[in-house]
Each structure stands twice: as C-alpha cells, then as structure tokens.
C-alpha cells in the first residue's frame, strides 16, 4: 500500500466539490483526487498514493519508475488490490497461539 506510482493526468473535473481527474498508469486508468496538486494540468505527470496525487514529477522520471514497477509486476496489484487479495490469502487463518 505504500507505493507512490507516477501517472499521466488525462482529464480534470470537479466531483462533489473535490478536484478529481482521470490518471493513466501505463494503461490502467483510475480516478484520482487532485485536490493537493492545484498546479497540475492535463498532460502532466504526478505521483499518486492511495488515490491521491501528492506531487508533480517530470515525464522522464515517471516513465522510468513505471518501467520498474512493470518489471516487478507491481502495478496491477497496487491499483486493483481487491482482485488480488484472494491469491495471497492463506486457505484458512492459522490460530496462532492460545490465550491464557
């Protein structure tokens, strides 16, 4: 959950009074809150953490980071976590130890 992923802002709009946008992470498009990056415009790259843009970055460094995440196959899992949770879950929770 701690990753910050760079993405490209595709559009900016207001939803319930909050500045939101569509952001493209190497093909995966997500809705992102842009309230904290008032300077960011359509076409800019921004680092996104749990659905919030936290800072602007330049395109070259954004592309480089995306390439690394792609190699580590971390992008899908971070952005669509509920579809991956079952894979990681153990079949049943082990009872760790008895209480006394």
């Amino acid at each position: 959950m701690c990753l910050g992923i760079p993405g490209r802002v595709l559009s900016i709009y207001s939803a319930d009074g909050v500045r939101m946008g569509k952001v493209d992470f190497d093909g995966i498009v997500k809705e992102v809150c842009l309230e904290y990056v008032p300077e960011v415009q359509v076409g800019d790259y921004t680092i996104v953490h749990v659905g919030f843009a936290i800072t602007r970055v330049d395109e070259a460094s954004a592309q480089e980071t995306l390439r690394l995440f792609r190699e580590m196959a971390m992008l899908e899992e971070e952005l669509n976590p509920d579809q991956h949770a079952e894979l990681r879950a153990p079949p049943a929770c082990p009872v760790l130890h008895d209480s006394n």
């Binding site: 701690c2 910050g4 319930d16 309230e35 953490h49 919030f52 509920d82 153990p90 929770c93």
Partner: protein, 370 residues
C-alpha cells in the same frame, strides 16, 4: 555483483558503488527508514554491493508492521460486528492479531472489504446508508492526506454512517526515539522520499543538528537508494551532520502545503504505540475533537481487549536493527509469509518478508566489533 544487470543503468550503479567503496574508511551504520526502500534493497541486493564496512539497518517504516496489536484487535472486533462494513488496505488483512486476522473475520461472515483508496470507503458509505462503514486509517504522513480528505468529504456529504479507526504514525518522532534509545546503533538515516513529498524536509533539520546525524532524503529506485547511501557516507566521513535532498525530483524543502493545511485541520498529534517499539511520544495523529463523530474508536467503544503477542516473534528487535530477520529462530520455519507470527512477515515491505521472499535464508556472518 550478480544483481548489477538488474539496474536500469548498470554502469551508473557500478560507479556509485565504486564511489561508496572508495570513500569508506571506517564502519558506518545507516538506517533506511522506509519499508519500500527495505524491499528494494533486498530485492536488488544493494546491501551486497556495498563494502563490508557499511551496514544497512532496516527501520520501522512499514505502517502495516508497526500498527500495534491492540489496534489490530480493535479492528477485528469492530469488523466482526453485525451491520459493519469494514474497509482496509489489502496488506492489513493478514496481519495477525492476538487470535486471528481480518481474513478470518471475513471467512466467518464479516463484511470486510479491500479498498484502494479511503475515498472508496466514503463511496461505499454513501451507497449503503443502512451499513456502518469503517475505514482502517493506517499509514505515515504520505497516506494521512488521503484519509483526512475522506473525513472532510464525509462531513461535507453529511454521512452519519462513516468512521475511521485511526492509527497514523509519523517519521520524525520515530527517528528521534531510535536516536534516544539506549544502545542505538544508527549513525545516519535515509529519510523516506514520499513522506517528504508531503511534509517537506524542514522537520529533519533540527534533528540532524541536535543529534549530530546526517539525514538524506532518498527515493525508492535502486539508483536512488545507492545515491542516498553515497551521500550519507560522504557526510559521515566528512563529519558533517546535515540534511541533504537526494530526491529533488519529487521533494521540496516545504513539501506539499495544500496537504499540510488539510492535515492540520483534521488531525492533531498524539502519543502512539508502535508494534515492537512501544509508545513513542507525539508520534501519531488522531482526529481533532471537532471530527470525533468520525472516530470509530469513539463510536464503537470496544473495551477490555486482552492482547497477546506471539512469544516467539522478535520483530521488535528486527525493527530496531538489533537482529537481522534471518537471525530470528522462527524465520522461515514456524514463520513464513503464509503463516506469519509477526507483522514484519506480513507486508511485502516488512523486513522479514523481504528477506524471505528474496531468499536471504542464511544468517549473516557475525559482525566484527570495531
């Protein structure tokens, strides 16, 4: 050097490593605070590129790992209540509480959902007015702006069925606690880049001065980390205790002012217990009294929890850099990512899981005592 070809620019990595070797005249111990950096260091074998004098100590910068057992047990109790929809980041579901984890609660019929963003939990609350929707707000300063905005949004929408179990933790007080701990071994810090994207790095300047310790703001990619180490070594060798920013492409001195303003509006500092480390003064954020209606702790008043840590787990020693994960007797045998005894084995950013996932099974050679 088998890892070198995995670097984007192997030649540059080689040059940075050579420069570090060249400048190192004495043993130094450097802590990378952030779990994301720990993960990258072990995955890429960065520690093995360094001269033997440099020891990396893996810090407590994984929010999943440091959320105290009592809070996990509170989460488990709330999630099991009828009428509650409990929303969390995925990593938290397998964190062992005293008796079980959130996956277990779900298997027993609890409505536990994994969300990507706290705003997803606000949406679920809005769409399900008959449910009590609770979000498990863990994380460092990087994550807190998101949960703060979720509360503001819920308030503006007039949602009465949304609340948060808040367990936010802060980096600078943790660094100070590590420096103050008896027997502290850390001589320099790599500060977590994205925490500083939000908060800037002005908070670290007085720490560097007071404790005479170099602090380098560092990114997450292998080359970023090598560069952070290179700068830390240079400062250590020169006897200079100051803050340097090695992640300028995403971090400014002031940080993100818009985010800091909202954080100050919604949260106030509080003492916070860290799993494995104990209570650190003023090291957390809780909701301000004006937002108490959104505080799950207040709303659900779960009392009388008997918490019990695994008697075997040594994650506290791991988090303080006293042992490496593979020096824990349970590592890789009783304790694996599928059967974690402690939180540092659960999250991919936890030091124990990083060592396990990247095959660091053997305990390191005993350290020389200089």
């Amino acid at each position: 050097m088998k890892y070198l070809d995995e670097f984007r620019d192997g030649a540059l990595a080689q040059r940075l490593a050579a420069e570090i070797r060249q400048h190192t005249t004495r043993p130094w111990r450097i802590m990378e605070v952030c779990g994301g950096q720990t993960h990258a260091i072990i995955r890429n074998g960065i520690d093995q590129l360094l001269p033997p004098e440099i020891e990396l100590i893996h810090g407590p910068g994984c929010p999943v790992c440091v959320t105290p057992l009592e809070t996990i047990d509170t989460a488990l109790a709330i999630a099991a209540l009828p009428g509650v929809t409990f929303c969390s980041f995925g990593d938290m579901l397998r964190v062992p509480g005293s008796r079980h984890d959130l996956f277990y609660v779900r298997s027993q019929g609890g409505d536990v959902r994994i969300v990507y963003s706290p705003m997803d939990a606000v949406r679920i609350a809005r769409e399900n007015p008959q449910r009590e929707v609770v979000f498990f707000a863990i994380g460092f300063e990087t994550t807190a702006p998101a949960t703060a905005m979720a509360v503001l949004t819920a308030k503006r929408l007039g949602l009465r069925n949304f609340s948060m179990l808040v367990a936010h933790v802060l980096v600078p007080p943790a660094i100070e606690a590590i420096l103050n701990a008896p027997g502290n071994r850390v001589q320099a810090f790599l500060a977590a880049g994205h925490v500083c994207s939000v908060m800037g790095y002005w908070q670290y300047v007085p720490l560097a001065e007071r404790y005479r310790v170099p602090i380098v703001v560092t990114g997450f990619e292998p080359l970023d980390i090598l560069e952070g180490i290179r700068r830390a070594v240079r400062l250590l060798e020169a006897g200079e205790a100051r803050v340097e920013n090695a992640y300028a492409r995403a971090v400014t001195f002031e940080g993100n002012c818009a985010a800091q303003k909202v954080l100050a509006e919604v949260f106030e500092p509080c003492d916070r217990a860290w799993r494995g480390l104990g209570v650190i003064p003023q090291s957390g954020w809780r909701l301000r009294p004006e937002y108490r209606d959104f505080d799950a702790q207040h709303r659900f008043a779960i009392g009388n929890l008997h918490v019990q840590e695994s008697p075997i787990c040594r994650s506290g020693d791991v988090l303080q850099g006293k042992i490496k994960p593979n020096q824990c007797p349970a590592f890789g045998t009783l304790c694996t990512p599928r059967t974690p005894l402690g939180a540092t084995m659960v999250s991919s950013e936890g030091a124990c899981a990083a060592y396990y996932n990247y095959g660091r099974m053997a305990a390191p050679a005993p350290l020389h005592h200089y």
